[in-house]
Amino acid sequence: MNYGVVSQEQLEKIDELLTEKLIKIGVDCVIIIDMAGNIITAKDNGTSKYDVYSFAALAAGNFATVDAMAKLVGEQEFSLLFHKGTDCNIHFSKIDDELLLISMFGKDISLGFLRLNVVETIERIKRLWVREQ
Protein backbone atom coordinates (compact mmCIF):
# COMPACT_ATOMS: atom_id res chain seq x y z
CA MET A 1 0.00 0.00 0.00
CA ASN A 2 1.19 3.48 -0.72
CA TYR A 3 0.79 5.96 2.10
CA GLY A 4 3.00 8.56 0.45
CA VAL A 5 0.11 10.80 -0.44
CA VAL A 6 -3.21 10.94 1.34
CA SER A 7 -6.12 12.82 -0.20
CA GLN A 8 -7.57 15.88 1.44
CA GLU A 9 -10.90 14.14 1.75
CA GLN A 10 -9.38 11.13 3.51
CA LEU A 11 -7.55 13.34 5.97
CA GLU A 12 -10.63 15.40 6.73
CA LYS A 13 -12.64 12.27 7.48
CA ILE A 14 -9.89 10.90 9.70
CA ASP A 15 -9.55 14.23 11.52
CA GLU A 16 -13.32 14.32 12.12
CA LEU A 17 -13.17 10.83 13.52
CA LEU A 18 -10.25 11.63 15.82
CA THR A 19 -12.01 14.72 17.14
CA GLU A 20 -15.31 12.93 17.62
CA LYS A 21 -14.01 9.73 19.21
CA LEU A 22 -10.92 10.87 21.10
CA ILE A 23 -10.51 14.64 21.56
CA LYS A 24 -14.15 15.02 22.67
CA ILE A 25 -13.76 12.44 25.44
CA GLY A 26 -10.85 14.42 26.86
CA VAL A 27 -7.71 13.19 25.07
CA ASP A 28 -5.17 16.03 24.93
CA CYS A 29 -3.48 15.15 21.66
CA VAL A 30 -3.83 12.43 19.00
CA ILE A 31 -1.25 11.74 16.31
CA ILE A 32 -1.24 9.27 13.45
CA ILE A 33 2.26 8.49 12.21
CA ASP A 34 3.83 6.01 9.83
CA MET A 35 6.61 3.66 10.89
CA ALA A 36 9.24 5.86 9.24
CA GLY A 37 8.39 8.64 11.70
CA ASN A 38 6.32 10.87 9.40
CA ILE A 39 3.22 12.56 10.76
CA ILE A 40 0.06 11.72 8.84
CA THR A 41 -2.14 13.95 10.96
CA ALA A 42 -2.19 15.46 14.43
CA LYS A 43 -5.13 16.82 16.45
CA ASP A 44 -5.12 18.45 19.84
CA ASN A 45 -7.60 19.99 22.23
CA GLY A 46 -6.27 23.48 21.59
CA THR A 47 -4.53 23.85 24.93
CA SER A 48 -1.81 21.20 24.73
CA LYS A 49 1.15 22.01 22.55
CA TYR A 50 3.60 19.21 21.96
CA ASP A 51 6.59 19.05 19.63
CA VAL A 52 4.84 16.52 17.42
CA TYR A 53 7.68 16.09 14.89
CA SER A 54 10.25 14.95 17.44
CA PHE A 55 7.54 12.95 19.09
CA ALA A 56 6.76 11.09 15.87
CA ALA A 57 10.43 10.24 15.28
CA LEU A 58 10.83 8.88 18.79
CA ALA A 59 7.50 7.04 18.75
CA ALA A 60 8.34 5.27 15.49
CA GLY A 61 11.71 4.27 16.96
CA ASN A 62 10.08 3.15 20.16
CA PHE A 63 7.56 1.02 18.34
CA ALA A 64 10.18 -0.51 16.09
CA THR A 65 12.22 -1.45 19.15
CA VAL A 66 9.24 -3.09 20.81
CA ASP A 67 8.50 -4.94 17.58
CA ALA A 68 12.03 -6.34 17.59
CA MET A 69 11.57 -7.38 21.23
CA ALA A 70 8.33 -9.17 20.34
CA LYS A 71 10.15 -11.21 17.73
CA LEU A 72 12.84 -12.12 20.29
CA VAL A 73 10.24 -13.71 22.57
CA GLY A 74 8.50 -15.44 19.69
CA GLU A 75 5.54 -13.05 19.35
CA GLN A 76 4.35 -11.78 15.99
CA GLU A 77 3.89 -8.29 17.42
CA PHE A 78 2.92 -6.27 20.47
CA SER A 79 0.13 -4.27 18.97
CA LEU A 80 -0.27 -1.76 21.79
CA LEU A 81 1.87 0.08 24.29
CA PHE A 82 1.01 2.19 27.28
CA HIS A 83 3.25 4.61 29.18
CA LYS A 84 1.96 5.90 32.49
CA GLY A 85 3.06 9.21 34.00
CA THR A 86 1.88 11.33 36.90
CA ASP A 87 0.00 13.87 34.83
CA CYS A 88 0.28 12.59 31.29
CA ASN A 89 -0.12 9.12 29.83
CA ILE A 90 0.61 7.89 26.34
CA HIS A 91 -1.17 5.09 24.54
CA PHE A 92 0.18 3.63 21.28
CA SER A 93 -1.86 1.34 19.09
CA LYS A 94 -1.08 -0.16 15.72
CA ILE A 95 -3.60 0.61 12.94
CA ASP A 96 -1.85 -1.69 10.47
CA ASP A 97 1.71 -2.61 9.50
CA GLU A 98 2.50 0.94 8.48
CA LEU A 99 0.43 3.21 10.71
CA LEU A 100 0.35 3.97 14.40
CA LEU A 101 -2.24 5.87 16.47
CA ILE A 102 -0.87 7.72 19.50
CA SER A 103 -3.06 9.27 22.18
CA MET A 104 -1.80 11.52 24.98
CA PHE A 105 -4.18 11.98 27.85
CA GLY A 106 -4.32 13.15 31.45
CA LYS A 107 -5.84 11.87 34.68
CA ASP A 108 -9.45 12.51 33.77
CA ILE A 109 -9.99 9.54 31.45
CA SER A 110 -9.72 5.91 32.44
CA LEU A 111 -7.45 3.70 30.37
CA GLY A 112 -10.30 1.26 29.73
CA PHE A 113 -12.57 3.94 28.29
CA LEU A 114 -9.76 5.25 26.12
CA ARG A 115 -8.95 1.78 24.82
CA LEU A 116 -12.58 1.15 23.85
CA ASN A 117 -12.60 4.37 21.87
CA VAL A 118 -9.21 3.70 20.30
CA VAL A 119 -10.35 0.26 19.08
CA GLU A 120 -13.45 1.75 17.50
CA THR A 121 -11.49 4.62 15.94
CA ILE A 122 -8.99 2.22 14.42
CA GLU A 123 -11.69 0.04 12.94
CA ARG A 124 -13.33 3.05 11.37
CA ILE A 125 -10.04 4.38 10.02
CA LYS A 126 -9.34 1.00 8.43
CA ARG A 127 -12.76 0.98 6.76
CA LEU A 128 -12.22 4.50 5.50
CA TRP A 129 -8.84 3.54 4.10
CA VAL A 130 -10.12 0.45 2.28
CA ARG A 131 -13.02 2.39 0.79
CA GLU A 132 -10.75 5.10 -0.54
CA GLN A 133 -8.32 2.68 -2.20
Binding site: G4, V6, Q8, E12, A36, I39, S54, A57, L58, G61
Partner: protein, 201 residues
Protein backbone atom coordinates in the same frame (compact mmCIF):
# COMPACT_ATOMS: atom_id res chain seq x y z
CA UNK B 1 9.30 7.40 1.80
CA UNK B 2 8.46 11.06 1.98
CA UNK B 3 5.03 11.97 3.17
CA UNK B 4 2.93 14.62 1.50
CA UNK B 5 0.02 16.27 3.23
CA UNK B 6 -2.15 17.79 0.52
CA UNK B 7 -4.42 19.63 2.92
CA UNK B 8 -1.81 21.47 4.89
CA UNK B 9 0.63 21.48 1.97
CA UNK B 10 3.51 19.93 3.87
CA UNK B 11 6.16 17.59 2.48
CA UNK B 12 8.14 15.57 5.02
CA UNK B 13 11.49 14.28 3.85
CA UNK B 14 13.72 11.85 5.74
CA UNK B 15 17.48 12.20 5.35
CA UNK B 16 19.82 9.82 7.17
CA UNK B 17 23.49 10.42 7.98
CA UNK B 18 25.18 7.02 7.73
CA UNK B 19 28.78 5.91 8.23
CA UNK B 20 31.30 4.15 10.47
CA UNK B 21 31.44 4.75 14.22
CA UNK B 22 33.05 7.98 15.48
CA UNK B 23 33.06 9.30 11.93
CA UNK B 24 31.28 12.60 12.69
CA UNK B 25 27.61 11.98 11.86
CA UNK B 26 26.32 13.46 15.11
CA UNK B 27 28.87 16.29 14.86
CA UNK B 28 27.43 17.18 11.42
CA UNK B 29 23.96 17.49 12.95
CA UNK B 30 25.25 19.44 15.94
CA UNK B 31 26.91 21.96 13.63
CA UNK B 32 23.73 22.30 11.55
CA UNK B 33 21.74 22.76 14.75
CA UNK B 34 24.01 25.62 15.86
CA UNK B 35 24.44 27.25 12.50
CA UNK B 36 20.84 27.19 11.29
CA UNK B 37 19.05 27.70 14.60
CA UNK B 38 16.56 30.07 12.93
CA UNK B 39 15.20 27.29 10.74
CA UNK B 40 15.03 24.79 13.54
CA UNK B 41 12.05 25.08 15.80
CA UNK B 42 12.64 22.28 18.22
CA UNK B 43 15.47 20.74 20.14
CA UNK B 44 17.77 18.16 18.62
CA UNK B 45 16.92 14.77 20.03
CA UNK B 46 19.88 12.52 20.83
CA UNK B 47 19.59 9.00 22.17
CA UNK B 48 23.09 8.23 23.36
CA UNK B 49 25.04 6.08 25.76
CA UNK B 50 26.80 7.40 28.85
CA UNK B 51 29.98 7.51 26.81
CA UNK B 52 28.30 9.96 24.38
CA UNK B 53 28.08 7.44 21.56
CA UNK B 54 24.86 7.38 19.55
CA UNK B 55 22.76 4.50 20.82
CA UNK B 56 19.69 4.72 18.60
CA UNK B 57 19.61 7.92 16.55
CA UNK B 58 19.82 11.70 16.60
CA UNK B 59 16.91 13.62 15.17
CA UNK B 60 16.84 17.19 13.94
CA UNK B 61 13.80 18.68 12.18
CA UNK B 62 14.73 21.42 9.73
CA UNK B 63 12.44 23.84 7.88
CA UNK B 64 13.46 24.61 4.31
CA UNK B 65 10.75 27.14 3.53
CA UNK B 66 8.44 26.70 0.56
CA UNK B 67 8.84 24.94 -2.76
CA UNK B 68 5.96 25.31 -5.22
CA UNK B 69 3.64 26.29 -2.40
CA UNK B 70 4.56 23.31 -0.24
CA UNK B 71 6.25 23.63 3.14
CA UNK B 72 9.34 21.47 3.09
CA UNK B 73 10.09 19.79 6.41
CA UNK B 74 13.42 18.01 6.38
CA UNK B 75 13.96 15.39 9.07
CA UNK B 76 17.64 14.71 9.67
CA UNK B 77 18.58 11.44 11.36
CA UNK B 78 21.87 9.79 12.23
CA UNK B 79 22.43 6.09 12.85
CA UNK B 80 24.68 4.53 15.50
CA UNK B 81 27.95 3.77 13.76
CA UNK B 82 29.26 0.92 15.89
CA UNK B 83 29.39 -2.39 14.07
CA UNK B 84 27.25 -4.23 16.62
CA UNK B 85 24.27 -1.90 16.18
CA UNK B 86 23.23 -2.91 12.68
CA UNK B 87 19.69 -3.86 13.74
CA UNK B 88 19.18 -0.30 14.98
CA UNK B 89 20.76 1.19 11.86
CA UNK B 90 18.28 -0.73 9.78
CA UNK B 91 15.33 0.54 11.79
CA UNK B 92 16.40 4.14 11.27
CA UNK B 93 16.79 3.56 7.51
CA UNK B 94 13.12 2.66 7.18
CA UNK B 95 11.43 5.04 4.78
CA UNK B 96 14.62 6.99 4.02
CA UNK B 97 14.54 9.47 1.12
CA UNK B 98 18.18 10.56 0.96
CA UNK B 99 21.49 9.54 2.55
CA UNK B 100 24.69 11.32 3.49
CA UNK B 101 27.52 8.83 3.92
CA UNK B 102 30.04 10.33 6.33
CA UNK B 103 33.38 8.61 5.77
CA UNK B 104 36.28 9.08 8.17
CA UNK B 105 39.27 10.24 6.12
CA UNK B 106 41.90 9.02 8.61
CA UNK B 107 44.20 6.42 7.12
CA UNK B 108 43.43 3.72 9.66
CA UNK B 109 39.70 4.02 8.93
CA UNK B 110 40.01 2.99 5.29
CA UNK B 111 38.74 -0.54 5.80
CA UNK B 112 35.89 0.54 8.11
CA UNK B 113 34.56 3.06 5.60
CA UNK B 114 34.35 0.40 2.91
CA UNK B 115 32.71 -2.10 5.23
CA UNK B 116 30.15 0.45 6.39
CA UNK B 117 29.26 1.45 2.83
CA UNK B 118 28.86 -2.21 1.85
CA UNK B 119 26.54 -2.73 4.78
CA UNK B 120 24.49 0.31 3.76
CA UNK B 121 24.13 -1.33 0.36
CA UNK B 122 22.85 -4.54 1.98
CA UNK B 123 20.55 -2.75 4.41
CA UNK B 124 18.93 -0.77 1.63
CA UNK B 125 18.49 -3.92 -0.42
CA UNK B 126 16.53 -5.44 2.47
CA UNK B 127 14.09 -2.53 2.12
CA UNK B 128 13.99 -3.09 -1.65
CA UNK B 129 15.87 0.16 -2.18
CA UNK B 130 19.10 0.47 -4.10
CA UNK B 131 22.22 2.40 -3.19
CA UNK B 132 22.54 3.22 -6.91
CA UNK B 133 19.09 4.79 -7.09
CA UNK B 134 18.62 6.56 -3.77
CA UNK B 135 19.90 10.17 -3.53
CA UNK B 136 23.31 9.89 -1.90
CA UNK B 137 26.11 12.32 -1.06
CA UNK B 138 29.52 11.37 0.33
CA UNK B 139 31.44 13.43 2.86
CA UNK B 140 35.12 12.73 3.53
CA UNK B 141 35.21 14.04 7.05
CA UNK B 142 38.09 15.10 9.31
CA UNK B 143 40.35 16.51 6.58
CA UNK B 144 41.25 19.27 9.06
CA UNK B 145 43.37 16.72 10.94
CA UNK B 146 45.87 16.89 8.08
CA UNK B 147 47.15 20.16 9.57
CA UNK B 148 47.90 18.39 12.81
CA UNK B 149 50.11 15.82 11.14
CA UNK B 150 47.61 12.97 11.41
CA UNK B 151 47.76 10.68 8.35
CA UNK B 152 44.75 11.42 6.16
CA UNK B 153 43.81 9.49 3.04
CA UNK B 154 44.14 11.49 -0.18
CA UNK B 155 40.74 12.30 -1.70
CA UNK B 156 41.70 10.35 -4.82
CA UNK B 157 41.99 7.16 -2.76
CA UNK B 158 38.71 7.80 -0.94
CA UNK B 159 37.05 8.40 -4.30
CA UNK B 160 38.48 5.16 -5.65
CA UNK B 161 37.47 3.17 -2.55
CA UNK B 162 33.99 4.53 -2.12
CA UNK B 163 32.82 6.40 -5.16
CA UNK B 164 34.22 4.62 -8.20
CA UNK B 165 30.97 2.78 -8.89
CA UNK B 166 28.49 5.13 -7.24
CA UNK B 167 29.71 8.33 -8.89
CA UNK B 168 27.72 10.57 -6.56
CA UNK B 169 28.58 14.09 -5.34
CA UNK B 170 31.35 14.03 -2.72
CA UNK B 171 32.79 16.69 -0.42
CA UNK B 172 35.86 16.89 1.73
CA UNK B 173 34.62 18.10 5.07
CA UNK B 174 35.25 18.88 8.68
CA UNK B 175 32.19 18.45 10.83
CA UNK B 176 33.96 19.99 13.79
CA UNK B 177 34.80 23.28 12.06
CA UNK B 178 31.78 23.19 9.76
CA UNK B 179 33.85 23.08 6.57
CA UNK B 180 31.52 21.84 3.79
CA UNK B 181 28.86 20.76 6.28
CA UNK B 182 26.23 23.17 4.87
CA UNK B 183 27.33 22.29 1.31
CA UNK B 184 26.80 18.58 1.99
CA UNK B 185 23.39 19.31 3.46
CA UNK B 186 22.33 21.56 0.57
CA UNK B 187 23.42 18.97 -1.97
CA UNK B 188 21.53 16.10 -0.37
CA UNK B 189 18.40 18.21 0.09
CA UNK B 190 18.40 19.28 -3.56
CA UNK B 191 19.08 15.74 -4.86
CA UNK B 192 16.34 14.35 -2.63
CA UNK B 193 13.78 16.97 -3.59
CA UNK B 194 14.50 16.41 -7.30
CA UNK B 195 14.10 12.66 -6.83
CA UNK B 196 10.77 13.09 -5.01
CA UNK B 197 9.51 15.42 -7.72
CA UNK B 198 10.44 12.84 -10.36
CA UNK B 199 8.60 10.09 -8.48
CA UNK B 200 5.47 12.22 -8.19
CA UNK B 201 5.30 13.63 -11.67
Amino acid sequence: MSFINLREKIVQVKIVYYGPGRGGKTTNLEYINRKFSKQIQSEMVSLKTHGDRTLFFDFLPFNMGQIKGYDLKIQLYTVPGQVKYNATRKLVLKGVDGIVFVADAQEHMREKNIRSLNQLHENLRDYKESIFRIPLVLQYNKVDLRNQGIPILPTAILEKDLNSKLKVPAFEGSALTGYNVPETLKKIISSTVISIQKKLL
